[in-house]
Symmetry: C2
Subunit: 188 residues, 2 copies
């Protein structure tokens, strides 16, 4: 397969993964379903993605890193931009469906669990980078644990989307930004 | 079916639901699998639980309210007791598997979503009761939103278990208790 053809095939298969996860969750993810949904032959899918867990993880990796933006500028601007971007991803039905599939798969399958661990590693994440920068620049207490601060950033919205299943509003992005800047401040 | 016989049947079916969710997630939950796992006939399962979503929700409701304890005593004692109890539930593999199934199902199925909404309703939850009591007794700023405080209590551990997939330690229960009492205090 040429590179261009592979890119098209991968695009069709990735789109099919999203469709299936949205409609049926991880339980519906089979090569037969993907072939029917994508129009790509079962043998091509088998050959390129012998493990469907890897395929689902590849899709999640791509969604996570799609349209990445740099978070520069003043502390409040950078933090708010990160939280707004994160809220927008979580508000997306496809992203949420793939995230739920990843959580679901990770409880039983080590392939999922590894992507999972990588995706949420605080030392590699964009959230972790913002916290370390905040500590260097003096707007986050350097005594605070980076992992704990990352959790402060991501846990509330994840809870709202995964558990309460409500959308994140701009107002909530503003409120969390203000709340975190206050809580993390060296003198607070 | 006599009441005693129904209680036994329900116990066997509920245990089978837990087994299946632990091994395969919601995608594996079929009447055939439950019959094979529980030794209860398919027709009995169909008759009593025509909707498997309702059945899964019934199991989750039961796990949520199993061994409920009263949270009395001083503020820090009550809050710590709640968080310790919550951590213990989340650390349980079966509880986690059923919770993940509920999250998974709720993204697609309104039956799940309704149990979900009920289970996490702040006005009915034990966490909400602790917050309202704290506001009456003066150790939680009465200007704080109850829903926001409930989120402060439950989001961090849920994130750790669902997303980071690590166990909650006693140390983390102590730390979160202290952190919340500080953050919520009327003068902070």
């Amino acid at each position: 397969m040429t590179d261009a053809r592979f890119v098209r095939t991968r695009g069709a298969v990735h789109a099919a993964v999203c469709e299936v996860l949205l409609a049926e969750g991880l339980g519906g993810l089979t090569v037969d379903r993907l072939a029917a949904e994508s129009g790509i032959s079962r043998s091509t899918i088998y050959r390129n993605w012998p493990d469907l867990a890897d395929l689902a993880c590849e899709v999640f990796d791509e969604l996570m890193h799609r349209d990445e933006v740099e978070f520069e500028g003043a502390a409040d601007v950078a933090l708010r931009a990160y939280l707004a971007d994160y809220a927008e991803r979580l508000n997306d039905r496809v992203y949420l469906a793939v995230l739920v599939a990843l959580v679901d798969g990770s409880t039983r399958d080590t392939a999922f669990a590894e992507v999972h661990a990588r995706a949420f590693s605080p030392t590699r994440s964009r959230a972790g980078a913002i916290v370390r920068r905040g500590q260097r620049e003096g707007w986050i207490d350097p005594a605070l644990d980076v992992q704990g601060c990352v959790e402060d950033m991501v846990a509330p919205f994840l809870y709202r989307r995964l558990v309460r299943q409500v959308r994140i509003t701009n107002r909530q992005v503003d409120d969390l930004t203000g709340d975190l800047l206050h809580r993390w401040h060296p003198t607070s």
